[in-house]
């Protein structure tokens, strides 16, 4: 099973040293070579476009494993860039990649100007832009279409930030930015940006579901080892009840995230299933991280302990590609339009 294979690779190749170094700005080169060799970067991109030609569910399996092991580096972001390139019929570029925009407010606009193009706008919180060999941007062309723009990060004005997990996030600013026609691929898809955000949300949901599994496994192990009042704390009903709640949130998260990928894999409209996943998994992330910390006590609050690699990612990822409220509103608007009679048919079709 792909999930197990991915877990094995991450256990060996993405240990604590590797995670800490990545947070200090060091790109995980050795791990990256293994990921590329294993075909983990573009699992569901067709072979003729540079991918492995697998199913979307393969992407879910790899990201779930990556989340579970808090894998450092732009794996999901490169995967998302690969999806974007393939969606535009472009062969996926080599190496680590970044995509923009990554939230619901930022928009990039492309204008024709004397045989060339001008790019305008700002894309905030772009993941791993400086480490990427290329940044793939979605811009609106003003004629109802979209364009894929490929740029090397060196020429872009960048402001470095990070998320709570120490993963690089950068603001890319384009003002009267000139680029040649060879860097632009026009597509007849008006909602390319929305589809990019949907796929990005599905990926974050898969990562979070995996990270919750990691928190649960650690918390259960810890509760079995840590002794207080003469017995393992996991023997106390109060602790057992909390761990059972954590198991419930984890199970819901896995089910919702896999549901999104099931819908993507079947084809057709997967918006509702993705919205369910990002909303439900994001909620589980907050509850699950809190329980994980409560069970680990002060030990889990130290930088020495590994728990924070998972929980800081959960706190970051739930706000990326639209938080719970954003996706709840997508679902709630659809439910309100469906009305009382249409509510159940809508839910049972997700």
């Amino acid at each position: 099973m792909l999930f197990d294979a991915a877990c094995r690779l991450f256990e060996e190749g993405a240990g604590k040293e590797c995670r800490l170094a990545a947070e200090q700005g060091e790109f995980p080169e050795a791990l990256w070579v293994k990921l590329a060799d294993a075909g983990f970067l573009h699992p569901s991109v067709p072979e003729e476009l540079g991918g492995v030609g697998g199913d979307a569910l393969d992407e879910f399996a790899i990201l779930r494993a990556a989340g579970r092991h808090a894998v450092p580096g732009p794996l999901a972001d490169t995967m998302l860039a690969g999806w974007l390139a393939a969606a535009c019929g472009v062969k996926v570029p080599e190496g680590p990649l970044a995509v923009a925009p990554v939230n619901f407010t930022d928009r990039l606009r492309l204008h024709k100007a004397a045989g060339n193009y001008k790019l305008e706008g700002e894309a905030r919180r772009v993941a791993w832009a400086s480490a990427a060999r290329e940044v793939l941007l979605v811009a609106e062309t003003g004629d109802g279409g979209s364009a894929l723009v490929r740029l090397e990060p060196g020429g872009i004005r960048r402001a470095r930030e990070a998320n709570m997990a120490g993963e690089p996030r950068e603001t890319l600013a384009f003002r009267n930015f000139s680029l040649g026609a060879s860097l632009v691929t026009k597509v007849e898809v008006a909602d390319l940006r929305e589809r990019l955000l949907q796929r990005g949300a599905a990926m974050r949901a898969a990562l979070m579901a995996g990270a919750l599994e990691g928190v649960l496994a650690r918390a259960v192990t810890y509760a079995g080892e840590r002794v207080q009042f003469g017995r393992a704390i996991g023997k106390f009903q109060a602790v057992q009840q909390e761990l059972a709640k954590l198991a419930g949130q984890t199970a819901a998260a896995l089910t919702a995230a896999e549901g999104a990928y099931g819908a993507i894999s079947r084809g057709g409209d997967s918006l509702a299933a993705i919205a369910v996943a990002k909303a439900r998994v994001g909620e589980a992330a907050g509850i699950g991280a809190a329980i994980g910390h409560q069970v680990h006590g002060a030990m889990g609050f130290t930088h020495e302990h590994d728990l924070h690699f998972l929980t800081r990612r959960l706190w970051s990822w739930r706000d990326e590609f639209g938080n719970e409220a954003r996706w709840q509103i997508v679902l709630g608007r659809a439910a309100a339009r469906a009305g009382g009679e249409g509510l159940w048919p809508m839910v049972s079709a997700i």
Binding site: K245, G340, W344
Partner: protein
């Protein structure tokens, strides 16, 4: 040791959507005009007439062998039937226990004569059963039951009391769980199950009104009740194992998250097509929970159909599902200016009150939340 939870994706079988349409049209034909407050009764709604109509369609015991009155349909088709009935607030309470629990128990452990006698009548929607487990001093601790059956020359003599028995006053039979052996080291030993007719001499049924002032519960007193030998279900002394077998079926079905659906529907109806972002986020959150619970529940149904016993997963579905049902009225009441009143002409206010009255029972019936979490903790390897 913790091995992970299995909620593998299960797809409904081909033909499920055609069957769903058939069920929807049946519901439309027979339940059009049903009031929201009645729909909010969900699987507490009792209608012998409706149960007989379902039976006539082959929709009770629909997975059972044809020779016992079943239709040999799949468990996942049955799932579609149940979720459509529950989403419509259909009054399924009369046959619910017989269809879900008593029938499958007899199929699995009953004698050939018991199956031949009772299953076809259950499947026709004519024979209703109740559960005889809880007692005054035996709630969550089922092994503490005191009701006892003692072997005599004519049959088993039963003495004791059962409590919280829903619809005993309108059912024909009960699956009685009681002690037949001495108290042993193994406190789960010495238990047996019997199929009891509720009109037998020595049985007294007393009503217990619930907080809504309605009569669902009963206390049942057994005084030297003679139970014929041929009414023992399964093996003497194996009652505990037999009961545990029922629980995965009892805990993971769509009734564990759709009990409050009528209220959700009234909420969405009352909010209208453009309720604003605050309400949209709130109802969208409920949709996300509901869709996820449904997927989890279908996964367990698929695993049960495949012959596995996902009891930890079933407990998880019930814990999360009943929590969702209980939260629904709390979310709904803050989205509309309305005061809950079961007698209201306003569908939302009436469904809100009815759901609030019954909400405390959601996390009690079929295993309390705390017991379920204990089962989950055991599944995690903690006890």
């Amino acid at each position: 040791m913790y091995q992970g939870l299995n909620f593998e994706a299960v797809s409904l079988p081909p033909g499920a959507e055609a069957f769903r349409a058939e069920v929807k049209s049946f519901i439309h034909e027979h339940l059009a005009g049903m009031k929201p407050v009645a729909r909010a009764d969900s699987w507490n709604g009792f209608s012998a007439e409706f149960s007989r109509k379902l039976g006539a369609r082959g929709w009770i015991g629909m997975t059972w062998p044809k020779k016992y009155g079943g239709a040999e349909r799949s468990a996942l088709e049955r799932y579609v039937l149940l979720e459509e009935l529950l989403a419509a607030g259909a009054p399924v309470g009369a046959h619910w226990i017989a269809d879900r629990q008593s029938g499958p128990l007899l199929l699995r452990f009953g004698t050939e004569a018991q199956r031949a006698e009772f299953l076809p009548r259950i499947a026709r929607g004519e024979l209703y059963m109740c559960i005889g487990m809880s007692e005054p001093d035996s709630g969550s601790d089922l092994a503490a039951v005191r009701t006892r059956a003692v072997r005599s020359n004519e049959g088993w003599r039963v003495n004791g009391r059962k409590l919280w028995t829903s619809y005993a006053h309108r059912c024909h039979g009960m699956i009685l769980f009681c002690r037949t052996g001495a108290k042993e080291e193994d406190r789960h030993g010495g238990m047996s199950q019997f199929l009891v007719d509720l009109d037998w001499p020595g049985i007294t049924i007393r009503p217990i009104l619930n907080i809504a002032g309605e009569h669902h519960f009963n206390e049942i007193i057994f005084e030297d009740v003679l139970v014929p030998f041929d009414r023992l279900v399964g093996q003497e002394g194996q009652g505990w194992a037999q009961v545990m077998n029922e629980l995965a079926f009892e805990r993971s079905g769509p009734e564990r998250f759709l009990s409050a659906f009528a209220l959700f529907q009234e909420l969405v109806r009352a909010l209208g097509p453009e309720p604003g972002e605050r309400a949209e986020a709130a109802i969208g959150r409920l949709v996300a929970h509901l869709a996820t619970l449904r997927r989890m529940s279908i996964s367990v149904a698929g695993q049960l159909q495949a012959g596995r016993t996902p009891d930890v997963e079933a407990a998880l579905v019930k814990d999360l599902g009943t929590g969702f049902e209980q939260e629904l009225p709390e979310v709904a009441r803050l989205l509309l200016e309305s005061e809950p009143f079961a007698g209201s002409a306003d569908g939302f206010a009436a469904a809100l009150a009815q759901t609030m009255y019954y909400a405390p029972s959601f996390t009690l019936r079929g295993g309390t939340r705390e017991i379920l979490r204990g089962i989950i903790a055991r599944g995690l390897g903690l006890r």
